[in-house]
Subunit: 240 residues, 2 copies
């Protein structure tokens, strides 16, 4: 009986470790998809444009694997307290990761649909926004792997900056279009790319909130109503 119980505990720990490894792997792939998507746009890197969508199936498979393992853990191990919160968070976080991968693929596919019209459209804002979103995502994924509430809080605090970049880009792109209708197609694609980056930032923040709750048992204040009517809401932007 003692042996049996020790065996059960060992397998339980192994299964939790495996759940964390799956999350880290899924996060790593999604992170590389976002890097590829940004390279596809800002460096017009054709190989990266093809590489990001090619990883979608693997991300979907990992989401299902996490779900299967979580259900197994819930059914057979009866996890409690922080373990239970971690498993529930994993189920939610994989949804955010899957969406991030989806947005990255969408950006990568779009990057092949336009050209930059003799360099007359500046991508420096997009590059800066891309770097910030990548940083936030990396920290969010580190926070998952290390169950690190402080790291999660850092991500949560910098979402506003992502929104500011987005608002500035939105204005700039619409101004480009008005000045030169030949740029409409390219700028329309860039508008959606900027929006997708902003959404990736949003999902990184969702992940940060979930890690924070899983680790501490406390929720972050509702200062950042998701898509809510906050003053900084990027949809509140007034176009030229």
């Amino acid at each position: 009986m003692g042996t049996d119980s020790a065996h059960t505990v060992k397998s339980y720990e192994q299964e939790l470790t495996r759940l964390r490894a799956l999350m880290t792997r899924m996060g790593g792939i999604v992170e590389s998809q976002v890097a590829q998507a940004i390279a596809a746009v800002t460096e017009q890197d054709e190989q990266a444009a093809q590489a990001a969508p090619a990883q979608d199936a693997q991300v979907d498979a990992l989401e299902r694997e996490v779900e299967t393992l979580s259900i197994r853990l819930l059914a057979l191990r009866g996890p409690m307290a922080s373990d239970l919160r971690e498993i529930v968070a994993a189920l939610k976080i994989t949804g955010d990761l899957e969406r991030i991968g989806d947005y990255a693929s969408s950006i990568a596919r779009r990057s092949r649909k336009f050209d930059l019209i003799d360099g007359n459209i500046s991508l420096s804002g997009l590059s800066a926004m891309g770097r910030l979103v990548q940083d936030n995502l990396r920290r969010a994924i580190d926070a998952i792997s290390q169950q690190d509430a402080d790291r999660a809080l850092e991500v949560w605090n910098s979402d506003r900056e992502v929104d500011e970049y987005y608002t500035a880009m939105f204005r700039a792109l619409v101004t480009y279009m008005m000045e030169d209708p030949r740029k409409i197609t390219t700028c329309t694609h860039l508008l959606f790319i900027a929006k997708n980056l902003e959404r990736i930032g949003d999902h990184a923040t969702n992940i940060a909130e979930r890690v924070y709750y899983a680790v501490t048992g406390a929720t972050l204040p509702a200062l950042r109503p998701r898509g809510g009517a906050a003053l900084s809401d990027p949809d509140e932007v007034q176009l030229p």
Copy 2:
């Protein structure tokens, strides 16, 4: 002991019933947000434009309530098989519902940012797309309430039609912009509104997939890779 056990079973059933009621309520609010968002745009209904975002906080609160109740059920009741799948599905589905409400609010807020320039921009495509997305969402939410796999399958099968509407609208709006740069601001907002409707349709399909799995234990074939490289992927649209 017999009484105790009967009592436990009764509370368990009551809690599952409460979980379903919370999901139905959350679904109902999100459904009304989408209806308001569409009215805000197609009928320029100012009251509806304000009503949709006003419900965001309630949707967020319901998501948290479902999570708390689910964790309670998982920790104290040790649900098995289809009950366990239903609870896990509820945790995932609230994420989709929250995003749908978020998109609806975004549409509603945007509706106040543009005018239709003397009726020179037709919204008939958007109205038709809106009706289809609303139908799909209603059926997806019915599928949750009634745990109805057939209903879920209907939703899953009509996502392609939503994508076709979106692609057609996208082309039409870019053409409008090219023909008359004064329409750029309005059409840019309408592009995002169309995209948000398409995303709402996507999330309704996600919900359908989850209900199908919770009820049957079987996954739908991966014919519809989410945001993947399917031929019908709306991001593959070639602009004029």
